[in-house]
Symmetry: C2
Subunit: 681 residues, 2 copies
Amino acid sequence: MQNRRTERGAFFPVFWKTDSHYNLVDFHKVFDLSQPEEITIAVEGTYNIKIDGKAIAGFPKTITIPKGHHKLSLKVYNQAHVPTIYINGRTVKTDSSWLVTFEDKEWIDQSGKVSDQSGTTWLNAGSANLNEITDLPSQYALPVKLLKPVQSEIQQDGILYDFGKETFGFLKLLGVQGQGQVAIYYGESKEEALSTSHCETLDQIEIQNSIPRDHTLNLSKAFRYVYVVPLNGVQLDSIAMDFEYAPLEDKGNFICSDAQVNEIYEVAKYTFHLTAREFFIDGIKRDRWIWSGDANQSYLMNYYLTNDSPTVERTMIALRGKDPVTAHINTIMDYSLYWFLSIYDYYRYSGDPSFIKQFYPRMKSLMKYCLSRRDQNGMLQGLAGDWVFIDWAEGLSKEGAVSFEQVLFARSLEAMALCAEIANYPNEALEYQEMAETLKSKIFDMYWNSEKGALVHNAISGKPTDHVTRYANMFGIFFDYFNEDQKLQVKNKVLLNADVPKIVTPYMRFYELEALCAMNEQAYVLDQIKSYWGGMLELGATSFWEEYNPDKKGIEHLEMYGRPFGKSLCHAWGASPIYLLGKYFLGVKPVNPGYTTYQVKPQLGGLQWMEGTVPTPNGQINIYCSSKEIKVRADEGIGTLYINSVNKPKTNTGQIVHLGGDNYTLELRPNTNYLIKYKAL
Amino acid sequence: MQNRRTERGAFFPVFWKTDSHYNLVDFHKVFDLSQPEEITIAVEGTYNIKIDGKAIAGFPKTITIPKGHHKLSLKVYNQAHVPTIYINGRTVKTDSSWLVTFEDKEWIDQSGKVSDQSGTTWLNAGSANLNEITDLPSQYALPVKLLKPVQSEIQQDGILYDFGKETFGFLKLLGVQGQGQVAIYYGESKEEALSTSHCETLDQIEIQNSIPRDHTLNLSKAFRYVYVVPLNGVQLDSIAMDFEYAPLEDKGNFICSDAQVNEIYEVAKYTFHLTAREFFIDGIKRDRWIWSGDANQSYLMNYYLTNDSPTVERTMIALRGKDPVTAHINTIMDYSLYWFLSIYDYYRYSGDPSFIKQFYPRMKSLMKYCLSRRDQNGMLQGLAGDWVFIDWAEGLSKEGAVSFEQVLFARSLEAMALCAEIANYPNEALEYQEMAETLKSKIFDMYWNSEKGALVHNAISGKPTDHVTRYANMFGIFFDYFNEDQKLQVKNKVLLNADVPKIVTPYMRFYELEALCAMNEQAYVLDQIKSYWGGMLELGATSFWEEYNPDKKGIEHLEMYGRPFGKSLCHAWGASPIYLLGKYFLGVKPVNPGYTTYQVKPQLGGLQWMEGTVPTPNGQINIYCSSKEIKVRADEGIGTLYINSVNKPKTNTGQIVHLGGDNYTLELRPNTNYLIKYKAL
């Protein structure tokens, strides 16, 4: 996945350490059989198979396990691909209950790890739903479907094809004949495809066909437009493409009275799906890589749309890699920190502690790396090799200890404390919690400027500057690090203050709008969504962009990184309305992990009505809300519906609780249709 | 290499963590060209190539580098095989001066590491003499030559072939016709090959030939005898084999007046060559694995025979693997410790500090692991997952803190101190030296029993036992840990004491005889060599064994591990006479690293004469010694010849220095033929 990017025809892999799979893996499971059982075996790799420790000669494809209590084990070596096994019998089958080891021989006795007498750590096997013996994991590819261009246009040297919207997949040249080359120039915009000298991706294909043949290209590309230029007497009939997609089901939904918001939601969904592949990647043209900060937003959107846990887990594992830690994730300090937050979020939405239990040692070693790089004030400054990213923004200072990084660091320590508790290391949980508290108070001592009513941006040589940016302040809001007075000051003096440099990436607008939502500024946020994302739609966007600055004009919008078409026009972080509308308009979020308890706090923010679904681990929550009534139904968990009404609302069931003022709550039980009418209307 | 063992037809890989190569590697070198230069490029992997940071589209096979100062870089991804590059131009060529990184982004500023501004560590590329563009590193295989059996014998179900001596390679079935199977049973002994139910290795081949064809088996095997049993109407003409060997040149030699010793030396050489493959392995039938304790002896023999540095480096790297350290090397505590000793020995014999400089960080992390496992007395006891090996010997106690392990541990700390100095970490050198001193004094406090005149075997719960074994005592001798009085006591009360359990493996006899040689007991050692290794020859050995206990009879000699043919009859550690004869009879060893200074101290030990060669980094030292005269010639370095004579010897050149008593020395200059005659004779 990290090696599929090209730039103008040159291979362009990531610029950080990439780890391999374990190439020698031992799998085992113990069975109690009431009768002998024949099993079918398929393995990717060189292997042996043992019953009760005794190896069977050769590479058997079927064996019979005698009745009784038996241990079945396989040891598999595979350097090129991940060692995998497939066993199918009447009751003996491969699944995630099998235990695996790469024979680390580590003896860890405090935690939930299973260790045998030799000190070998056994973990649960990774598994995938490949249920046919012919479904080789190493050959796995996402499904494709055939798409044809919707339009074509003759240009000077060839034909420009338009697929109607941003798309992704394998180009097909149809009916190609002759000897020579075909040059292919891809564009997310028409201008890019026609710029043979500056388009970001291109292909050059050698043709030697005496009769017409079809060619499908090996490497997928992102494009809406394709400019095909046959050279030297090569001819072709037309083109098409194999559109490649991850088959993730939409379990969440949102629709409302505002057609523009609905269109924004649909394009956000499409953007999300294009970038939700084997892993959650940043953009489909560029970088096509897995980035922790980008992925953190994809996870959150996923919880409100596809709620696919395997893709979240795969992405988190791929980002972390293996020990030893030699650099920050993606080389970016903030991206290591987002990773901790992502793991705890995943637990909160899924309720599944197994990822934390299995990966706690790697959380710990990454945190150890971060802690080892603190300055004399216990804060993180960029050291050699560290990229302090924050956001794409002109003139953004990364000097000294940046407050934004410390706020993320504090939250990461809190996440570690929670995860240590879950992984059954209570003493470590206490240590992390203490470190978090210490750091939080240092943050306020160092950065809080009461005159500015804000955390300042950075401190140089231990001295705070008086420069204010939005970053630390907006995270401080939804991390709940401010007191009520500070919150109000931050809202008015930073978030709603046009003099503080504005944010021009959907990436940081995600958090900016989240902070405003957390302060019940839904009406303002809705306006922002409509003007910012709506602004991209007005410019013809069919997917949301890496960056959008409304002040730019024309082809300026396509530029980035000093390249005329450098900008990615389909970037995962552009899809955040999915999250904002689900979490802060429908108002649904888990309170206890996995929605065992949850809250529903619908806020129309000026909409006449809205209707939607939020997925939960084993079901969904449906909400309809208008200015007159609320309807709610959930499949699982105990919810609390928050209603803001000047008079006591009526409900078809249950007891409305008055919280004081205009605030009422209603307890939601599973599988019950609730109808709440505002008495006052 | 670690995955080529089979046991009765079942795949049998190692039982410890194995690491992969780095799958994404950046290579670069800076050139100053007086004219433009076209280069040819071959790469194993997906790659890009950049001049001065600018990528060239596609995967070019030739490019032209403009004249002037330019940086050429390639980034290569390869999961299945090691990323490799081959560049050939007039002056621009790939070699070990290219720098590589896997983009660890680690910033290390104290040492000899080259780091760029981003903190990336650049190391020298590994290189091999594959000078044709078609020599793909991934396809590298050792050369083979055709061998035919010397004898065959019809047996009940098939034919038993004898290749005349222990051999290793790919069996060939010649002129095979019919439909069905051929069963192949291998034996290092005739008994083993004929024991279809208990031979250690076997093959079962499917045949479907309407006309006669030859089949060469895919996996090499070790054997002298092969019992071929065609089943179900399959016929074959004969068999042969592709004998596989590492093309290592013999640079050392030894010949003497004793024919039996000469035969022992020849069989030791053959044993060494059979086990010196891509790496130094333990045995060719079993385990075919790389074991640190075994390899430590192979390195030392290598310095007196083939002096091949690449095989030493490859083996040391393969043993160590990558960080993090999760277990001892080969899971064996002593084998981690031998690894430190091996590295320092390698520097002593080769004079090349580059291995230490590049791998010092991995030395440090392995030592950190060892140090983290000390008990409250600062000693190493076996913890869960640790194998305390010492030697194969019945009833050998591994309980508590074994003195042998502490002696190795102390020596390892001394080796770390020396390596830290070489790698330019003087403070760490001091720390290791202090730890070594502390441990050594603790060893004597804990284990020295003045009544027994020996270090006792172990201490249980901090209390020394009164059990004496040879292990710690013999290492203490040649590590020079005893004072003169202790040495004499150890010699008489342990080494020459028949009541102390005797050693039955050539492995530990290596060190036992080394200790005796270090105490000038060459005459005794020669007797031991003749009876112990000679004893194997008398039993028909054509290579030396894993274990030899003269008290056993008949097929008892073939048994081990509870299996009738479990013993390996060609084991690297059987070849130690190569080392003993070179180092302690010819008496040659480096004093300063790389033979810049060295000593020659010939000791006939009862031989009438001996003649031999010892390789040095860039030449050799030739010695002839009889009871009447010594001849010496060296290509490099400054030597000191030690002569023991009651009267002052005569020399054709130079000044004999009288050291007092019967001891004289002569300084040896390069490229000079020295002839020394004992005046008294």
